[in-house]
């Protein structure tokens, strides 16, 4: 066992963090700078990061660990470029042995827990395409012969959602899924579990990144902001909040490594289990850490122009996406404690 990053992974992490820091938004006003956002999106695309989970030789081009490294770097900089959305779609398409032109994401059920399944000729409820700023279509599943057939629905709705850096776009009810062009194979539940494990790993990594980023800027603020003639960061009450935040981030960072590795190296069910454990921890930790950041920023932290809410909002989406801590704990009660009552 050696869970250190390889030298190549460490180098990827350096590159990704540097790029995200250079081109990501530093202020809330930067979010409106379309030129900057376009340069960031182009840089992510040119680096080949959106293709990490495309078909390589007998598997994806890069492992879940590499994908998580980039997700964390983008979360740390609240980078407003699509990543997990298209990468998760590519992973699903690869598992289905299909080919799709770029720009697809995945359509989620309204609870954002899972890829949407469409049983009738048309969608029965609104669906949500997540991290779908540039997407033209989204993947859905159609039950067929004990498995699922991949299909697509158009994504036309305006961007919305709590997260100001990753678009959630509604797909209205009544849309008819279209077959994926070319050959594809049925997705089995094991394929979907492995895919969900990757989804949990990437949302955890994003949460870890957001925690790291918001702690850094909050510590900087606490060193600079003065009250009673001294930096507020010299008060123990403030120091202890930040120390707790840092500690939660370190714990989250350790637990999140496991599903990123497990997504490719463990069987689907244990990989998903690793994702559930990590997500339960990371979602709770991120909520506390981001709330701490708002608190330490005081009155400023409660204004639109202070960037901390951009982190909090991003964490809210990453927490819900593939299930928050409450959902993961319920699933763990089912798998580990044999609880069936009151669970779907």
């Amino acid at each position: 066992m050696d869970v250190r990053y390889t030298p190549e992974q460490a180098e990827l992490r350096r590159t990704a963090r540097q790029l995200a820091r250079e081109l990501g938004p530093r202020t809330v006003a930067d979010l409106d700078d379309d030129k900057r956002a376009r340069r960031l999106a182009e840089a992510v695309r040119d680096a080949g990061w959106l293709e990490l989970r495309d078909e390589g030789e007998g598997g994806p081009l890069a492992s879940g660990v590499e994908a998580a490294i980039i997700a964390e770097a983008l979360g740390e900089a609240v980078a407003d470029a699509s990543f997990a959305g298209p990468v998760l779609a590519a992973d699903l398409v690869r598992r289905a042995g299909a080919r799709l032109q770029g720009g697809a994401v995945v359509a989620f059920s309204p609870d954002l827990l899972d890829v949407a399944t469409v049983s009738g000729p048309a969608t029965a409820s609104p669906l949500y395409a997540v991290d779908a700023a540039d997407a033209a279509s989204a993947c859905v599943l159609i039950p067929e012969g004990g498995g699922y057939r991949l299909a697509i629905v158009p994504v036309e709705g305006a961007r919305g959602g709590a997260d100001l850096t990753r678009a959630v776009r509604e797909i209205p009810a009544g849309v008819r899924p279209a077959a994926v062009p070319g050959p594809s194979r049925l997705l089995r539940s094991a394929d979907l579990d492995a895919w969900r494990a990757l989804g949990l790993a990437l949302t955890c990594a994003d949460l870890v990144g957001s925690m790291r980023g918001v702690i850094e800027l909050t510590v900087a603020y606490a060193r600079e902001r003065k009250q009673y003639g001294v930096p507020i960061g010299s008060f123990q009450a403030v120091q202890h909040l930040l120390a707790e935040a840092q500690t939660l981030m370190e714990g989250a960072s350790s637990v999140a490594l496991h599903p990123s590795w497990a997504a490719d190296d463990l069987a689907p069910e244990p990989a998903r289990h690793a994702g559930r454990v990590a997500k339960a921890y990371c979602a709770r930790a991120a909520r506390t850490v981001c709330e701490t950041a708002v608190q330490v920023h005081g009155g400023m932290g409660n204004t639109w122009d202070c960037i901390v809410h951009v982190y909090l909002r991003r964490a809210l989406l990453s927490s819900r996406w593939f299930g928050d801590d409450g959902e993961q704990l319920r699933q763990l009660e089912r798998t580990r404690l044999g609880v069936t009552h009151g669970l779907s």
């Binding site: 066992m1 869970v3 001294v230 120390a243 500690t247 714990g251 989250a252 921890y281 319920r330 044999g338």
Partner: protein, 377 residues
């Protein structure tokens, strides 16, 4: 990055698993029963004799020169079998290894690691808890010896110890952090009185206070240089705060497994809040296991004696207290109606984790100032 065993690790795991199956002494949960401490020395010796203790320490002192990740396997397998955790003394080994002369290392490490010699740690005093450097126990030079006078408290294992790793003031004329030195003091002598302390959960054999009244220690038993005591103490406490060093992952995993078993026998008998606390305790224990995997992997680059131990200590404390709360929740009214309830004992003992080895408040001070670089008031 690879969480799997290498071939050598897999072979070790298999051997260890077979040995534990034959040799698990079936002790009660640690720190819930006096029987645990009465038989823990036997367990230490058995583990050592079988070649499963001191894995990452130098072989010339009785260790096995293995990478520290082997301790992850040891903790995994102990927890899996429900066997007792490994003895918690890695921090003393780190202290002696880092600061002791060759003579000190040769003399003391083999007995410490094998369990032949039992050790306690004489740091805290009634008036020197968090403010450890203000301690007042004195070591006064007298020929080839020092005379020790003072009062140590909250001393784990003082009742069975052969040796005390003592921190005492050797120079009262310099600022408080600079006048301290460390000694290996033989416990079995006139001039030392050991008084047990009954813990919050009723156990009587883990904790004590030690009164030094003209006790003697040879000058050659000084560990490190005169005045180096504070630095040595900081090396020791930084490791005492690391779950990877003290093997607590196995302790928590065992406790969580027992709570899960209880719920699994009749899940419908428990309220959703009770079950959620058990699931959360499991998540916390898994987090710590994976955190230790990361920390011990980082040790492949070398041992760090820095402030990171304070992060680990806070994580470990949150885990232990989540497990304690889950135990209390699962126990329900039993914890209120039965003074001997095991869950009550686990819960009560868990409150000590945010104090022992440095309070959570001290850990947060260290994280804030030394890791985050926040200014001191």
């Amino acid at each position: 990055m690879d969480f799997r065993d290498s071939p050598a690790e897999a072979e070790f795991r298999e051997r260890l698993r077979a040995w534990i199956a034959e040799n698990d002494p079936g002790l009660p949960l640690s720190s819930t029963d006096d029987e645990y401490w009465a038989r823990q020395a036997e367990w230490h010796t058995a583990l050592y004799d079988a070649g499963f203790f001191g894995l990452s320490w130098p072989s010339r002192y009785g260790g096995h020169d293995l990478p520290s990740v082997f301790d992850v396997i040891l903790d995994d397998e102990l927890a899996r079998a429900g066997a007792p955790p490994r003895p918690s003394l890695g921090y003393l080994v780190q202290g002696i290894t880092t600061h002791g002369s060759d003579a000190i290392k040769n003399r003391f490490l083999p007995g410490l690691i094998s369990g032949r010699d039992r050790w306690c740690q004489g740091f805290s005093e009634p008036d020197a808890g968090s403010d450890l450097a203000s301690l007042r126990t004195t070591a006064t030079r007298d020929g080839d010896e020092y005379a020790i006078d003072g009062h140590k408290i909250w001393t784990s294992y003082s009742d069975v110890a052969d040796w005390c790793f003592l921190l005492a003031r050797t120079d009262p004329t310099v600022p408080k952090h600079r006048g301290l030195s460390a000694f290996a003091v033989p416990m079995r002598q006139r001039g030392i009185e050991q008084r047990p302390l009954r813990m919050i959960n009723g156990i009587t054999t883990e904790f004590g206070q030690v009164i030094f009244d003209g006790a003697r220690v040879a000058a050659e038993n000084m560990i490190g240089e005169p005045g180096e005591g504070w630095r040595i103490a900081m090396t020791i406490v930084s490791h005492e705060r690391e779950p990877g060093e003290i093997g607590y992952v196995a302790r928590y995993a065992k406790m969580v497994a027992e709570l899960e078993d209880e719920v699994r026998r009749d899940p419908g008998a428990f309220q959703p809040e009770q079950r959620e606390q058990v699931a959360w305790a499991y998540v916390q224990a898994e987090m710590l296991r994976l955190h230790v995997c990361r920390r011990l992997s980082e040790r492949l680059d070398g041992v760090d004696h820095g402030p990171g131990g304070s992060v680990d200590k806070l994580l470990m404390t949150w885990v232990e207290q989540s497990v304690g709360s889950a135990a209390l929740a699962v126990s329900g009214s039993r914890a209120a109606t039965d003074a001997d309830d095991l869950a009550l004992k686990i819960y009560l003992y868990s409150r000590a984790q945010s104090v022992m080895g440095g309070t959570s408040q001290i850990q947060k001070n260290i994280v804030a100032t030394r890791i985050l670089g926040l200014p001191t008031a």
